[in-house]
């Protein structure tokens, strides 16, 4: 299996073939392989044995496989019914037709191209990601750039994430001793409704990430050095082509010690985001918690990466292991049983909305928090806003009914960021065109703010489980809490 970022060069192509060999010897990574092992062949009744006599051994093997025949007859019983209706000649033709389709569907060398060629002759091949040299602008002391002309709370007017100053280079982050660099990644290649490229814009314009947190009375804008790190250049004609550069920019942020907050863009971004942090912190040092209505472990697609497959990609490319993953909020059509079995085998700790329905949110919350605490590892949070119910977040490309509420999401994010060593956070799939109001951006900002608050709490050593400020918990005009524990 090829790694995405190595598709461009011969040297790394050689590297990847070596790695592929390693992959083949490692535990089964594909659902396909797992299913093949588990499959029981279809048994045909004696009434069909005359008709099946003319079939070759290969044809018989194909016909006996539930997986191979599923596309044509949903169940073995329906397959048998179909065969019984046909004559022996028709049965043979039927099997030949099925096998022909199976062949057509596969990649055939010589007939099919295994890559999409790019126009390397274009003089603007890389124009989209060449950085602006410092000499293009007036000389400035390195560090975050204050945009406001005023002293007080009046902003500069130009919208930035969290109303923060702007930083453009790693040197700016270092000089500014930046704690959190919020960076946009306007990738718009999701398979649902598309407007995620405006996620960063709406989050800058809506505001709401900054300032005092009511629940803890901690003001992240005061306690942390936060910057708007601009947007990462994206090629919106190719997810694959965008991945390398996103990984490079996220890595450069993390290398300075700042925590990258990536505002997407679609969920493909989880791949380069996590890969970048593994680059910096090393394998087996990072856990990932993935909030999403979807499990994003899509396999077996002609495309190596899309917003439905970042986790699979991370596993296959060896950046992370299933046991390092916690999933929260699953409820879409997939995964199916086979998908869940596969996740179990890989060691995923998943928490679907079925678990919430059975045991209640508070129970699942505590379970998730204890898993995240785990062995005290560094933690990455990948937050797909569609984990929330569409009535709160309508502006997202693939909404699914029955989701979390803000009153569930905000505390869990705040606690995760306060009670663990969070080294990265992404918020993906905000697509404002689908929400004519401010609601999507408002809730998304509140959740991002909850993480910033948690990070600030950590800086202030307010890391006790579920810390809330005593003064906001109780008016203290009576002894009610004592009398009613």
């Amino acid at each position: 299996m090829k790694k995405i970022e190595t598709l461009n060069t011969w040297r790394t192509a050689l590297m990847c073939s070596a790695l592929s060999l390693t992959m083949l010897t490692s535990p089964a990574l594909s659902q396909q392989e797992a299913e093949e092992e588990a499959e029981t062949p279809i048994e045909f009744p004696d009434s069909l044995s005359m008709k099946l006599n003319d079939l070759t051994a290969e044809q018989m093997e194909f016909l006996s496989s539930p997986r191979s025949t599923r596309s044509y007859a949903r169940t073995p019983e329906l397959l048998i019914q179909t065969l019984e209706k046909r004559s022996a000649t028709e049965v043979k033709a039927y099997v030949e037709a099925m096998m022909w389709v199976a062949e057509q569907r596969k990649f055939v060398p010589g007939r099919d191209s295994d890559s999409i060629p790019l126009n390397v002759a274009s003089p603007d091949f890389n124009a989209w990601l060449v950085r602006r040299p410092a000499s293009f602008d007036p000389v400035r002391e390195v560090g975050p750039i204050e945009m406001s002309r005023y002293m007080g709370s009046g902003g500069g007017g130009i919208p930035t994430f969290a109303g923060a100053p702007v930083a453009l280079t790693p040197e700016d982050l270092i000089a500014g001793k930046v704690d959190v660099a919020i960076v946009g990644a306007p990738l718009n290649m999701g398979s649902g409704w598309r407007d995620a490229d405006h996620g960063p814009l709406i989050m800058r314009m809506q505001g709401g990430m900054a300032g005092n947190d009511q629940y803890t009375q901690v003001n992240a804008s005061r306690e942390l050095n936060i910057v708007d790190y601009g947007d990462i250049a994206i090629d919106n004609d190719s997810t694959e082509r965008s991945m390398q550069h996103v990984r490079a920019v996220v890595r450069e942020i993390a290398e300075t010690g700042a925590i990258p907050f990536i505002i997407g863009g679609d969920h493909s971004l989880e791949y380069p985001n996590v890969a970048a942090l593994v680059d910096v912190y090393g394998h087996d040092n990072l856990s990932v918690i993935h909030f999403d209505a979807h499990y994003d472990v899509g396999r077996d697609s002609p495309h190596y990466i899309s917003h439905g497959s970042p986790i699979y990609r991370l596993l296959v490319d060896g950046h992370i292991k299933g046991k390092d993953y916690i999933q929260v909020g699953l409820r879409s059509g997939g995964p199916d049983e086979a998908g869940y079995k596969w996740m179990r085998e890989e060691g995923f700790k998943y928490h679907s909305m079925a678990e919430v329905e059975r045991f209640g949110w508070d129970y699942v919350l505590e379970r998730v928090l204890s898993e995240a605490r785990g062995d005290g590892r560094k933690l990455y949070i990948s937050f797909d806003v569609d984990v929330l119910d569409p009535s709160y977040i309508s502006g997202t490309g693939t909404p699914v009914s029955g989701g979390m509420t803000p009153r569930e999401a905000i505390p869990i994010i705040r606690r995760l960021c306060a009670e663990n060593n969070v080294v990265g956070f992404d918020m993906v799939e905000v697509a404002p065109a689908l929400d004519p109001t401010y609601t999507t951006a408002l809730h998304s900002a509140a959740i991002a703010k909850a993480c910033l608050t948690g990070l600030a709490m950590r800086k202030l050593e307010l890391t006790d489980p579920h810390y809330l400020n005593p003064i906001t918990l109780d008016h203290a005009q009576d002894e009610y809490h004592k009398e009613n524990p």
Binding site: V130, R131, R140, Y150, M151, G154, I158, P159
Partner: protein, 473 residues
């Protein structure tokens, strides 16, 4: 409106003349109708005799028209009341009119502010350079990591950022675009988000197919941030807006201001005028509303900015051109007042009569013959709501983008522009992108014109030969 029946009595006419309100300007239809069609029954005469002289004088004056829509309606009201009711009615009318005026015993003569507020002036104190953590050489700077980037941190026209006048000077800036988010429209209020909406939308500095001039390539354009306002008081915002615009324009850069409601026109025009006091300014005011009402209790609002500019002599009436008037704000008296002052107004009635092409040429001719620098004050209400619904004071039957864009482009190409402002957007009234896009397009038209002028393309109605004709035959 109830018509008086056909002429029956001389008494009636005399009565009408007695009510001096009938002697309205000659062009008034009320007068003409009153002359031709008057009938007063004797009972009505008798009723009036029962009133005091003070009361009759009141009815003779124009004051009743402050509480009732017309003379004819007043007659109806008088006719249907018996003498006792009439007494009460007239007394009540007089009391109401008297109550309109300032009552020293009970009314605040001023709105008190809280001098103990620790941040009384916080929002308008400019940060001294020395308090910045890091120094930088003056000049506009990019907020993009890349040489070419769509998206990223949103600025007007995707331009670089400037914060101080020194930046404008060092950068030899041609146009500095600043937001003034005042939100006190007398209509719908969301002008606060005007600057944000226009920054978030593309199209302000696009190449222009009509001239094939690319304003972003010809002019040095910057985003100059926003100027602070007090969103609870226009009066309190005026001085700071004036000072900021003055300081901007004094550098030689042309201010492009993104409002904000139209009250802001008063400090902006005044400031630009103050930069070159010897040179009169011609103002071309686009809008559905004439905004030259006499001020009422408040010193300034969007409805009287023009009144103040004219009466204070910041601009003279014969240097004011208004385009697109059609709202209900202006009465007959309003237009008379404008005429007396020499204002060259062009309402949608004129457009209906003569056609847009004729009106457009007239406006251009007026602007050019003044030989003054031109300040364009563009209230988005001039546009038809179908093309820009996000207007604070929308009015049906407006001008289209295809009518306005050539006029704006030509004004900005064929006259020297001292400033351009776009006012009174209310972004929350448009759930789509259309209003922001069309607003940016108007700014683009002026930036294009200015770029054309910089390149010497300021002849009458320049259009690029290659785009007007495919040249195949």
């Amino acid at each position: 409106m109830l018509m008086f029946k056909n002429n029956k009595s001389v008494t009636g006419l005399a009565l009408c003349l007695l009510f001096t309100g009938c002697v309205t300007p000659v062009t008034s239809p009320t007068f003409l109708q009153a002359q031709a069609e008057v009938e007063m029954s004797s009972p009505v005469m008798a009723k009036l005799n029962g009133l005091s002289e003070e009361q009759r004088a009141f009815l003779r004056s124009s004051d009743p028209l402050r509480v009732i829509a017309s003379r004819e309606m007043l007659m109806e009201e008088i006719e249907r009341r018996d003498p006792q009711q009439l007494q009460k009615y007239v007394a009540d009318m007089m009391a109401a009119v008297a109550a309109f005026a300032f009552q020293p015993a009970t009314d605040l003569s001023a709105i008190p502010l809280n001098p103990e507020a620790t941040g009384f002036n916080s929002s308008t104190v400019l940060k001294p350079q020395i308090l910045n953590e890091r120094s930088r050489s003056p000049g506009p700077f990019s907020v993009s990591r890349y040489i070419h980037q769509t998206g990223g941190i949103p600025t007007f026209a995707g331009a670089k950022v400037a914060i101080t006048p020194e930046d404008l000077i060092a950068g030899k800036v041609d146009v500095a675009i600043a937001g003034i988010p005042q939100s006190m429209s007398s209509g719908n209020r969301d002008a606060r988000n005007g600057p944000k909406a226009l920054r978030g939308m593309h199209g302000m500095a696009d190449r222009n197919v009509f001239s094939m001039v690319d304003p972003g390539a010809v002019l040095n354009i910057v985003d100059y941030g926003d100027f602070s306002v007090d969103r609870m008081s226009i009066a309190r915002s005026v001085n700071h807006i004036h000072d900021m615009v003055f300081s901007l324009a004094s550098t030689g850069a042309v201010p492009f201001l993104v409002g904000g409601d139209h009250s802001v026109m008063y400090p902006t025009v005044k400031a630009v005028r103050a930069v070159n006091p010897e040179t009169p300014l011609t103002v071309v005011h686009f809008g559905a509303h004439y905004n030259a009402e006499k001020t009422r209790a408040h010193a300034l609002s969007d409805r009287d900015a023009v009144y103040l500019l004219l009466t204070e002599g910041v601009i003279s009436g014969n240097n004011l051109i208004q385009v697109g008037l059609r709202g209900p704000q202006a009465s007959l008296e309003s237009f008379q007042w404008l005429r007396e002052r020499g204002v060259m107004y062009h309402t949608m009635a004129e457009v209906e009569l003569r056609g847009w092409e004729v009106v457009m040429e007239r406006v251009l001719d007026e602007a050019k013959s003044s030989r003054n620098p031109v300040y364009v004050s563009f209230d988005v209400s001039v546009m038809d709501p179908g093309e820009l619904s996000a207007a604070g004071r929308a009015s049906p039957g407006g001008l289209t983008v295809r009518e306005l864009a050539p006029l704006v482009r030509r004004l900005c190409a064929e006259t020297p522009i001292a400033g351009f402002e776009i006012m009174d957007m209310a972004p929350m009234l448009d759930l789509s992108y259309v209003s922001a896009m069309n607003a940016n397009y108007m700014l683009n038209a002026c930036l294009t014109g200015m770029a054309m002028r910089k390149q010497g393309l300021s002849q009458d109605h320049y259009l690029n030969p290659i785009t007007v004709d495919h040249g195949q035959y």
